[in-house]
C-alpha cells in the first residue's frame, strides 16, 4: 500500500484566511499575523501559546521557520518552513497533520503565505539554481497551455468546443468569487470578456489565467478525539495523499498531456483512505487547482468526477456550477483569488472547512458532507500533486 490513513485521525478545529488582494500596505509578516490571529481568535479558550508546533509554507517570501517565528515572536517553539511548488500550502498542512497524528504534539498550526505584489512582474517568478541553459524558459501559462491541443487531439474536440469549456470554467469561477468577500476579484465576467482577453500562451488569454495576489492562511489541527474540546464543528481529514512526480512526462516519450498522472495517483489514495468509492456521486464539493482554465477541465477527469474525454461536456452542461450536481471552486478558485503560492492550498482548505461547517452563507452547498481539496504545482508532465478528502463526520 502506497499510503494509508494516519493511525490517529486528525481534525481541523480552526482556520483563518486573509482576503487575497494587492496588499500594497501589508508585508508577508503582516499577512501571517492577520491569518494566525483570525485562526486563533476563533477559538475562545485557545491562545497561541497552546500551539505546540508550527509549519509555514512559502515558495519565495521567506526562508526557514523564522518566516513565521519572527513576525509572531514565537518563543521556544519548533517551526518548519516547507516548499513544494504551488502545493506548498497543502504541504504545510500535511506535515502538521502527521505531527499531531504521531502523538508528538497535541495541537499544531499550519500556515502559508506569499507576498507576490512587491515584484514589478505580473506572473510568478522563481529563482532556480545555476543550470546549463538547456531548459525552455517556460512561463506557467505556456507550460499548462500544452493541455489544450493535446486534449483536443486525443478526444476529437474542435477548437470552438474547447474554447467554450475553458470559457465556462472562467465564467463559473468568477461568478462564485463575486459572492466571496475574501476573493481578489469579486465581479462576475462575461464569456466575451474571457474570450477577448489578450493572448498569453497558446489558446490562453489573460482571463484563462489565475490572478496574482498576496495572502496568507492558517489552520489549527488536533487529533480527532480531542476536537470537540475546541469546537462543535470540527472538520475531519478523511484522506490525504501527496505525489512528487518523477518528471518522466517531459524526460521520456509516452505522456500525452491529457492528464496529470500525479493527481490520479494522489486522488486514488486519498479516496481509498476516505472510503470514497464513487467520487462523482459521493463528493459534495471540490476545491481544485484552476491555475489555468484547461487545468480545471483535465482535473475533473483526473479526480474521477467526469469520464475521460467528457469533462468539457460536463462543464458545459453545468455539472460543476454552484448549483450543479458537484460544485467546483465554490469560493471562486485561483481564478478569483489569485495565487499566493504558499497560501493557496490552505485557502482551498478554508473553503472546504467553511462549507462543511455550513458557514458559507450565499455560497453554501446544501448538505455538504464530503469535500475534496486538490492542489498541484510544476507543469503537465512534471508536477507535484496533493489531494485531500475532508468531512464533517469522522
Amino acid at each position: 500500500m502506497a499510503s494509508r490513513r494516519t493511525t490517529h485521525d486528525v481534525a481541523i478545529v480552526a482556520m483563518g484566511c486573509t482576503p487575497f488582494r494587492d496588499h500594497w500596505n501589508s508585508s508577508a509578516d503582516d499577512l501571517l499575523v492577520d491569518a494566525v490571529q483570525e485562526c486563533v481568535g476563533s477559538l475562545p479558550d485557545v491562545t497561541l501559546g497552546d500551539v505546540d508546533a508550527f509549519w509555514v509554507g512559502t515558495q519565495g517570501s521567506g526562508l526557514s521557520g523564522q518566516t513565521l517565528a519572527r513576525p509572531l515572536r514565537l518563543t521556544g517553539k519548533p517551526v518548519t518552513r516547507v516548499e513544494n511548488y504551488c502545493a506548498t500550502g497543502s504541504e504545510a498542512l500535511r506535515n502538521a497533520a502527521f505531527a499531531v497524528a504521531s502523538g508528538a504534539y497535541d495541537m499544531v498550526m499550519a500556515t502559508g503565505v506569499e507576498k507576490l505584489k512587491d515584484s514589478s512582474y505580473s506572473g510568478l517568478s522563481a529563482v532556480f539554481p545555476p543550470a546549463d541553459g538547456t531548459d525552455v524558459d517556460w512561463t506557467a501559462p505556456a507550460g499548462f497551455s500544452l493541455l489544450a491541443p493535446a486534449y483536443q487531439a486525443a478526444y476529437g474536440i474542435d477548437e470552438r468546443q474547447m474554447r467554450a469549456a475553458m470559457t465556462r470554467v472562467a465564467v463559473k469561477n468568477h461568478a462564485n468569487g463575486a459572492r466571496n468577500d475574501r476573493a481578489q476579484f469579486r465581479r462576475a465576467v462575461t464569456a466575451e470578456t474571457v474570450e477577448r482577453s489578450p493572448r498569453i500562451a497558446g489558446q490562453l488569454g489573460v482571463m484563462d489565467c489565475s490572478g496574482v495576489s498576496d495572502g496568507a492562511a492558517a489552520a489549527i489541527l488536533v487529533r480527532a478525539e480531542d476536537a470537540h474540546r475546541y469546537t462543535d464543528k470540527p472538520v475531519y481529514l478523511r484522506g490525504m495523499s501527496f505525489v512528487a512526480g518523477s518528471g518522466a512526462g517531459l524526460a521520456a516519450d509516452g505522456y500525452d498531456f491529457t492528464t496529470f498522472p500525479e493527481v490520479v495517483t494522489a486522488a486514488r489514495e486519498a479516496y481509498e483512505q476516505a472510503g470514497v468509492t464513487d467520487p462523482a456521486t459521493q463528493i459534495s464539493l471540490a476545491e481544485v487547482h484552476d491555475c489555468f482554465t484547461p487545468t480545471e477541465v483535465v482535473l475533473m477527469e483526473d479526480l474521477g468526477f467526469s469520464a475521460r474525454g467528457k469533462a468539457w461536456r460536463d462543464i458545459l452542461d453545468g455539472r460543476y456550477d454552484a448549483d450543479g450536481a458537484l460544485p467546483v471552486n465554490t469560493d471562486g478558485g485561483l481564478k478569483s483569488f489569485g495565487h499566493p503560492i504558499g497560501a493557496t492550498g490552505l485557502r482551498m482548505m478554508f473553503e472546504c472547512f467553511t462549507q462543511l461547517r455550513g458557514e458559507a452563507g450565499p455560497r453554501q452547498v446544501p448538505d455538504a458532507r464530503l469535500a475534496v481539496a486538490q492542489n498541484l504545482g510544476g507543469q503537465p508532465g512534471s508536477c507535484v500533486a496533493f489531494v485531500a478528502v475532508l468531512g464533517n463526520e469522522r
Binding site: 541553459g133 524558459d137 507550460g143 491541443p149 493535446a150 498569453i200 524526460a251 500525452d256
Partner: protein, 470 residues
C-alpha cells in the same frame, strides 16, 4: 592526411530568411533592382551557422588537424568561438579549434583546407547601418570545407598581400566603415588579376570552365568577373544573398561545385585585402561530397522577411518587450558537465529497457533503473514529432511570440524545445521537426547555445534520419 591537396567534402548553409525591401516608409515607391540579402535568424550567429554547415561533413576530422572558424562577427571577443563549434561537432580533442579574423580569413581558411591541415567553417553575419547604400549588398551565410580530393583537387594557388584601408571596424562598433570604393576597386582589381594569372600559369591553363569571383568591393568583383570571362553564376548568387563576408568565397565555390561536372576546372578568386586564387579540378566524387542541400535549393526555400522584423532582430530597433525578467544565464560548471547534452543533444539510453531519457540522467525516466553504464545517444540528427505545442506571447526573444513544442524523437526520446524558422501558428501536433543548433539568448554577456527544432523537409518519413549523422 589527404593524398592530394583539395576538397574532400563541402557544405553551404544559408539562413531561412531573405530581405528585399528596406523602405522605412512602406508608402514610398519600391526600390528597383530585384536584389535581396540573406538574413540570419535572431537566434543565429557565426558559431551556430558554422555548426549547421559543418555538422554533415566534419565529424571524422582526424586529430592533428585544425578546426578553423573564419569570421568577422565572432560572438566573443576573446574566447575562441571555434571551441563551441568543436564541442557541438563532438570532434577529437586532438583537433585544435582556432578562430581566424579579418576579411581575408575566409580565403585563408580555404587555403589551409586545401593544404590538408585544416577543416574550416567560413561564417559571417553582416549588418550595415539602416539606409546604408549597401544594406542589401551584405548578407549572412556559412560554408564548410574538409581537406581531401573527392570534391576537387587543387591544381595551383597564388596569393597577394596588400595593406589597404578598405572595410574596418573598431572593437565595440557595430558597423563596418568603408573607404571610397573607387579607390579600393582599382587596387583590388590589379591584385586580383595578377594573382589569377599567376595561378593559371602555374596550373598551365589558359582558360577554365568556371570562374568564381568574390570581393568585398562590388566594383572590383564586377570588373574581375568581366576580365576573367566568368559566366555570371557567382553574381547571380550574390544578388540573392549579398556579399557574405568571410563566407563569400566559400559560398560561391560551394555553388560552383553544386553545378559542376567531374573533370571541369574552376578558378576561385577572392579579392579582399589583397587576393587569393585557387585553380581546382572537380573530382569524380563531387556529388557525394556535398553535405546538406545545394545553395540553389536553400535559396529557393527561403522566406521573405519584413524590414521591421529585420531591424528588431539586429537590435537596430528597440521594441518594448514583455514585463518579464531576462532568461537566466547558463553557468560554466553545469555547461561543462553536460556538454554532451547541451552541445550534441545526447540523451541517455537505458541498459535495461532501451528507452531514452532527456536530459541524460543516472536513472531511467521510463523504468527507473539506475544504470552506471547508461549509453549516450545523440538525438541531433533525428526527426521529432510534435506531441503538443504552445505559443508564448510573453517571450523575451525579439519576436511578438514564439512556438514551444514537446516532441518525440523517432527512435526514442522527448524534447521540449523552441521552434524556429517557422511561423508559430504553423506548428501543429504531429508536425515533423529536425534539431538545429541555435543561440537561445544572451544574458550577463554569456551566449546560451542549445538546440531548437525547425520543420523537417516535407519528405521526412518516420524513422528516417534527415542527415548523414553518426
Amino acid at each position: 592526411m589527404p593524398d592530394q591537396p583539395g576538397i574532400d567534402a563541402y557544405a553551404a548553409y544559408l539562413p531561412a530568411y531573405a530581405l528585399d525591401d528596406t523602405r522605412l516608409d512602406p508608402t514610398a515607391p519600391a526600390r528597383a533592382g530585384g536584389r535581396a540579402r540573406s538574413v540570419a535568424g535572431y537566434d543565429e550567429d557565426a558559431v551556430t551557422m558554422a555548426v549547421e554547415a559543418l555538422r554533415h561533413v566534419a565529424a571524422d576530422t582526424p586529430a592533428g588537424r585544425h578546426l578553423l572558424l573564419a569570421t568577422t562577427s565572432a560572438p566573443y571577443e576573446t574566447k575562441t568561438s571555434a571551441g563551441v563549434v568543436h564541442e557541438a561537432l563532438g570532434l577529437d580533442p586532438g583537433v585544435t579549434a582556432l578562430d581566424l579574423r579579418g576579411h581575408r580569413a575566409g580565403a585563408s581558411a580555404l587555403d589551409l583546407v586545401l593544404r590538408g591541415v585544416a577543416t574550416a567553417a567560413l561564417a559571417d553575419v553582416r549588418t550595415t547601418r539602416p539606409g546604408a547604400p549597401d544594406e542589401l549588398a551584405q548578407g549572412d551565410a556559412a560554408a564548410a570545407f574538409v581537406g581531401g580530393g573527392q570534391a576537387a583537387v587543387l591544381l595551383a594557388r597564388a596569393g597577394h598581400t596588400t595593406e589597404l584601408l578598405d572595410r574596418w571596424r573598431l572593437p565595440g562598433e557595430r558597423h563596418d566603415r568603408v573607404w571610397d570604393e573607387r579607390f579600393t576597386a582599382e587596387i583590388l582589381v590589379a591584385a586580383g588579376l595578377d594573382t589569377a594569372r599567376r595561378a593559371l600559369a602555374q596550373a598551365s591553363l589558359d582558360t577554365v570552365d568556371q570562374v568564381v569571383v568574390s570581393s568585398s568591393n562590388p566594383r572590383a568583383a564586377a570588373a574581375l568577373r568581366k576580365a576573367l570571362g566568368g559566366t555570371g553564376q557567382d553574381a547571380t548568387v550574390e544578388r540573392a544573398t549579398g556579399f557574405t563576408g568571410v563566407a563569400h568565397p566559400g559560398l560561391l565555390l560551394a555553388d560552383a561545385l553544386d553545378e559542376a561536372e567531374p573533370g571541369q576546372t574552376i578558378l576561385l578568386l577572392s579579392a579582399t585585402e589583397g587576393a587569393d586564387a585557387f585553380v581546382l579540378r572537380v573530382g569524380d566524387g563531387v556529388r557525394a561530397a556535398r553535405g546538406g542541400p545545394t545553395v540553389r535549393a536553400q535559396l529557393a526555400a527561403r522566406q521573405r522577411l519584413g524590414y521591421g522584423r529585420y531591424l528588431r532582430w539586429r537590435g537596430l530597433l528597440d521594441v518594448q518587450g514583455p514585463a518579464r525578467p531576462a532568461a537566466p544565464a547558463p553557468a560554466a560548471p553545469p555547461m561543462h558537465r553536460r556538454a554532451g547534452w547541451k552541445y550534441r543533444l545526447e540523451g541517455s539510453r537505458c541498459d535495461a529497457c532501451g528507452r531514452v531519457t532527456t536530459p541524460p540522467g543516472r536513472v531511467c525516466a521510463s523504468c527507473g533503473t539506475a544504470g552506471s553504464g547508461t549509453a549516450p545517444v545523440s538525438l541531433r540528427d533525428r526527426t521529432a514529432r510534435v506531441v503538443s505545442v504552445t505559443r508564448d506571447h510573453l517571450t523575451t526573444m525579439p519576436e511578438p511570440e514564439v512556438a514551444i513544442v514537446v516532441a518525440d524523437v523517432d527512435g526514442g526520446g522527448r524534447l521540449s524545445a523552441y521552434a524556429t524558422d517557422v511561423a508559430p501558428g504553423d506548428v501543429a501536433v504531429g508536425m515533423a521537426m529536425d534539431p538545429t543548433f541555435r543561440r537561445l539568448w544572451t544574458t550577463d554577456s554569456i551566449h546560451n547555445y542549445f538546440w531548437k527544432l525547425r520543420p523537417a523537409p516535407a519528405d521526412a518519413a518516420p524513422g528516417k534520419d534527415t542527415a548523414d549523422g553518426q
